[in-house]
């Protein structure tokens, strides 16, 4: 399917088949096919909240769109908003491809997302407190103990350690998807060091810079305040004995794929960006080395994984961490965000139990459901998974970023056989989920619009209260038909608008969304 902004002449003709109105050589209108499309209810049927945007797009020629696209790409490149692809000394820096058409979320949809995430994050923090203290949930056999205590993210060293405010996950980025009915599901939780929030803010800035006109008439909720909200959370968890806490961001360094984000956050919060080698521990206090001697550090927003934090406790060959940091943390003399050991709660096998976790601790039903998940470690599930490998998505429990997964319907027989063997060898390390028909959104491809699958990663901050930033990172699977949205696998991004209110009914919702006259050749079916 192919399409481009509407011809103004046909824009006001609700529901008219495009081919009869359009000039000769015209292509068929944008077709959402069998998927939930964020913008279209059906062929030519623009959803109400997108109507104004569709009208603006209709006034543009493909050359206009391409020009703004180039300006946006240039803006990302020149400002060095890049991620490193090959982690190495001379890694290649790439920009995350940015699609100009914003994704919109209505106030009603957002209310559900916000409430659902708050519920989830509160329940997961109660769960973390429990598994590192009394372990009631295991005693009462709501979950198999071996699943929790045997998870790679579980840090037995931290049993009995109290954390400030009882909060473990100060920054959470959960991945949401929508199925063909438009319902939201949680695909996974990121409770360790979720990244992507700089893109949430930068995508908005770049879109404002390159295409300010499309913001007119829309009430878009701002996202610029995120770093200040984050700083407030970090100050709130400082050790109570400290009057004026010193906050730092701990980064692995310039070759980390998210280095730009570390810079962005440190700068926006006005705190030091440090590396492990800038810090040292003396007399149960963490210090940084400055030109005027040592300076105490009270709160560390660490973007270094647990394993690398302290060579004395975890990986002994880690150069990214600080010797003695973990002991200082246990004494409560320095605070870490997120806490150590949160990985147990975003383990892909534990994920399957999150609905039960929510019911157990809060006595509520999950507001946003999980995706159906099969655990090969349980016998019934194993049989089902092996029988249905061709329809399921299989994921390695300990991998992320789109690595170590197999999408059954797209995989070859050999790949399926390989995963069958791997699952049989180590069932605890895999989960399987039905292949979701992820929702789609029109994206600018070469010189026209095509539907591409998207997900949504909102960011949740948890200090004294839970705050969901009104926006999110909409990731786009840029290859036609692909379901993998990770930036390391060629995914792109979109600005994500949470609307303060839905605009007044100003155009009939059936506005056309088809090609302008002239310069484009028809394209084949996609999806």
């Amino acid at each position: 399917m192919t399409s481009v902004p509407a011809d103004p002449r046909s824009a006001g003709t609700p529901g008219a088949p495009a081919n009869t109105e359009a000039p000769a050589g015209e292509m068929p209108p944008y077709n959402p096919e069998q998927f939930w499309d964020e913008m279209f209810a059906g062929p030519g049927q623009v959803r109400h909240h997108y109507a104004e945007l569709a009208r603006k797009l209709a006034t543009l020629s493909p050359a206009d769109v391409a020009r703004r696209q180039r300006a946006a790409d240039h803006s990302f490149q020149a400002r060095g908003i890049t991620f490193a692809v090959n982690q190495g000394v001379e890694g290649i820096e790439k920009i995350m491809p940015f699609d100009l058409v914003p994704r919109m979320i209505t106030p009603d949809e957002w209310r559900q997302v916000e409430r659902g995430l708050e519920q989830r994050v509160r329940a997961l923090n109660l769960f973390l407190h429990d598994v590192y203290h009394e372990q009631r949930i295991l005693e009462q056999e709501v979950m198999p103990p071996e699943l929790v205590l045997g998870a790679t993210g579980y840090r037995r060293e931290f049993r009995g350690v109290d954390v400030p405010l009882g909060v473990y996950t100060h920054i959470v980025g959960s991945d949401l998807v929508r199925d063909a009915s438009g319902a939201f599901f949680v695909l996974e939780d990121n409770l360790r060091t979720p990244s992507g929030v700089s893109y949430l803010v930068e995508n908005r800035r770049v879109l404002k810079r390159t295409w300010p006109q499309i913001f007119e008439t829309y009430d878009v909720r701002p996202v610029e305040q995120y770093p200040q909200d984050l700083l407030e959370v970090l100050l709130a968890i400082a050790p109570p004995i400290v009057d004026e806490p010193n906050v730092v961001v701990l980064s692995p360094g310039v070759y980390n794929s998210a280095y730009y984000e570390h810079v962005f956050l440190a700068k926006a919060m006005g705190v030091e960006l440090v590396r492990g080698s800038d810090l040292f521990v003396d007399d149960a206090t963490v210090y940084m080395r400055t030109t005027r001697g040592r300076r105490r550090v009270d709160v560390i927003y660490r973007r270094v994984d647990d394993d690398f934090l302290d060579p004395l406790t975890f990986k002994p060959d880690s150069l990214l961490g600080v010797a003695g940091l973990v002991a200082t943390y246990r004494l409560g003399r320095v605070s870490l965000a997120n806490a150590i050991g949160t990985g147990v709660a975003d383990d892909k096998a534990i994920y399957a139990y999150v609905p039960r976790i929510i019911r157990y601790y809060l006595g509520e039903d999950p507001i946003i459901p999980n995706v159906q998940t099969y655990l090969p470690s349980e016998e019934d599930d194993l049989a089902y998974v092996l029988e249905h490998l061709d329809e399921l998505v299989v994921k390695a429990v300990n991998e992320s970023g789109g690595y170590g997964m197999m999408i059954g319907p797209h995989a070859s027989a050999a790949e399926r056989e390989e995963f069958r063997q791997r699952i049989l060898a180590d069932p605890r390390s895999y989960i399987a989920q039905p292949t979701l028909a992820l929702s789609r959104h029109p994206c600018w491809v070469d010189d026209h619009f095509e539907g591409r699958h998207v997900d949504l990663r909102p960011f949740v901050l948890f200090g004294r209260e839970v705050k969901v930033t009104p926006g999110g990172l909409t990731r786009v699977a840029l290859r036609r038909g692909s379901l993998v949205v990770n930036s390391s696998q060629g995914g792109g991004g979109k600005d994500t608008w949470v609307l303060g209110h839905v605009p007044e009914e100003s155009v009939p919702s059936g506005a056309q969304f088809i090609a302008p006259a002239g310069d484009m050749a028809p394209r084949g079916e996609g999806g």
């Binding site: 400002r79 080698s277 800038d278 080395r289 030109t291 040592r294």
Partner: protein
């Protein structure tokens, strides 16, 4: 400020300044070559720029003019080639993006990306001015942005210190290369005037010189102007005064040499001595001592200052042998009284290791 951040800002600033000088030098010598006419083969003006140490990457034999230009601008093995300066400045800036302004980073990155094209050396050979001028302007723009966007805290002071020390050092190096020419005063022939003009131009000083003296160009004045002028911002004296002001800002209100003086005490003393020397000497004394010796001494001392700055501020390591002056003096007296050979504590002006040897 973090030691690592100060270190990166200091070196970013030095490499930005060095890139400006290398770019200008190539541009100026090229123009001079055209003026010099065809009495010599081209390598005559270019080869001296390599200095006494013939670089390995050029192989043996007399390098062609094109080889020399390539070495100065594009050679990956030359640590001070234009592209290496820009790459290192950008890489240092990348490590401290949170501490410099976004504008500075974006500008530096833009210049860096502009070199990231196919065959930049062919472009440079084809139209040198159109190639080097925008690069030099781009780097000057970085300095201008630093001036108007950096907080006047340590980030600015280390930026100034790096730029001023680098400028003094590079000036001394360029003049060393030209010293034989300046001293062989065979009379004020037309050719010589053109050469001295080229020297002034390669230091960006031709117009300022004319304006200052409004006299015919002569070597003694050229030397005086570039070394000792108190008003021209690219004279060695001026650079050292600027560096001293920055270093005093960094060191804070400590009484130099007092017990427990700041971490950078040695740096302040070494730079103070050097600055005073330039401030209180005259051109005849410089020539009496020997121009080349004088310039070599300046380079050596700038290097020592840079090392003391590194040890005092840019590394947070205990410094062995950093004794309070009085304690050291007592040791010296004891040694003298006993007429005994005692292992002497390190001389504050001893030559330490260099960060990347360079020819220019």
């Amino acid at each position: 400020m973090l030691c690592r951040v100060a270190d990166d800002i200091f070196w970013m600033s030095r490499y930005v300044e060095r890139a400006i000088w290398v770019g200008r030098l190539i541009d100026v010598v090229w123009h001079f070559e055209l003026d010099a006419g065809d009495q010599d083969e081209g390598a005559d003006v270019w080869a001296p720029l390599l200095g006494p140490n013939h670089p390995r990457s050029l192989g043996t034999g007399t390098p062609s003019a094109r080889d020399v230009r390539h070495f100065l601008a594009f050679d990956q093995e030359n640590p001070s080639s234009l592209v290496n300066c820009i790459r290192k400045a950008r890489s240092a800036a990348q490590g401290v993006r949170e501490s410099i302004s976004s504008e500075m980073w974006e500008q530096l990155n833009t210049v860096y990306l502009s070199l990231d094209t196919a065959r930049p050396d062919a472009r440079a050979e084809d139209d040198p001015h159109a190639f080097y001028q925008p690069i030099r302007n781009g780097m000057l723009f970085v300095q201008g942005l630093a001036d108007s966007t950096l907080l006047r805290d340590e980030s600015w002071l280390f930026f100034c210190l790096g730029r001023s020390l680098e400028r003094a050092d590079t000036l001394a190096r360029i003049l060393t290369l030209q010293a034989p020419l300046l001293q062989n005063v065979s009379g004020a022939g037309q050719d010589d005037v053109v050469r001295w003009l080229a020297v002034l131009r390669s230091c960006g000083a031709a117009e300022a010189y004319s304006h200052y003296y409004a006299l015919r160009i002569e070597p003694a004045r050229v030397i005086e102007f570039l070394l000792l002028n108190p008003l021209f911002p690219q004279s060695i004296r001026f650079c050292l005064e600027t560096a001293m002001a920055a270093l005093e800002g960094i060191a804070g209100p400590v009484v130099v040499g007092a017990p427990g003086a700041g971490k950078g005490d040695l740096a302040v003393r070494a730079l103070g001595l050097l600055e005073a020397r330039l401030r209180h000497t005259a051109v005849d004394e410089v020539l009496e001592e020997g121009l080349e010796e004088f310039l070599e001494d300046v380079q050596h001392r700038v290097q020592v200052v840079s090392e003391h700055v590194t040890a005092g501020y840019l590394r947070d390591e205990p410094q062995p042998g950093r004794l309070v002056a009085v304690a050291r003096a007592a040791m010296i007296m004891a040694t003298q009284q006993q007429q005994q050979r005692w292992p002497s504590p390190p001389d504050p002006l001893s030559l330490p290791r260099e960060r990347g040897r360079r020819l220019l």
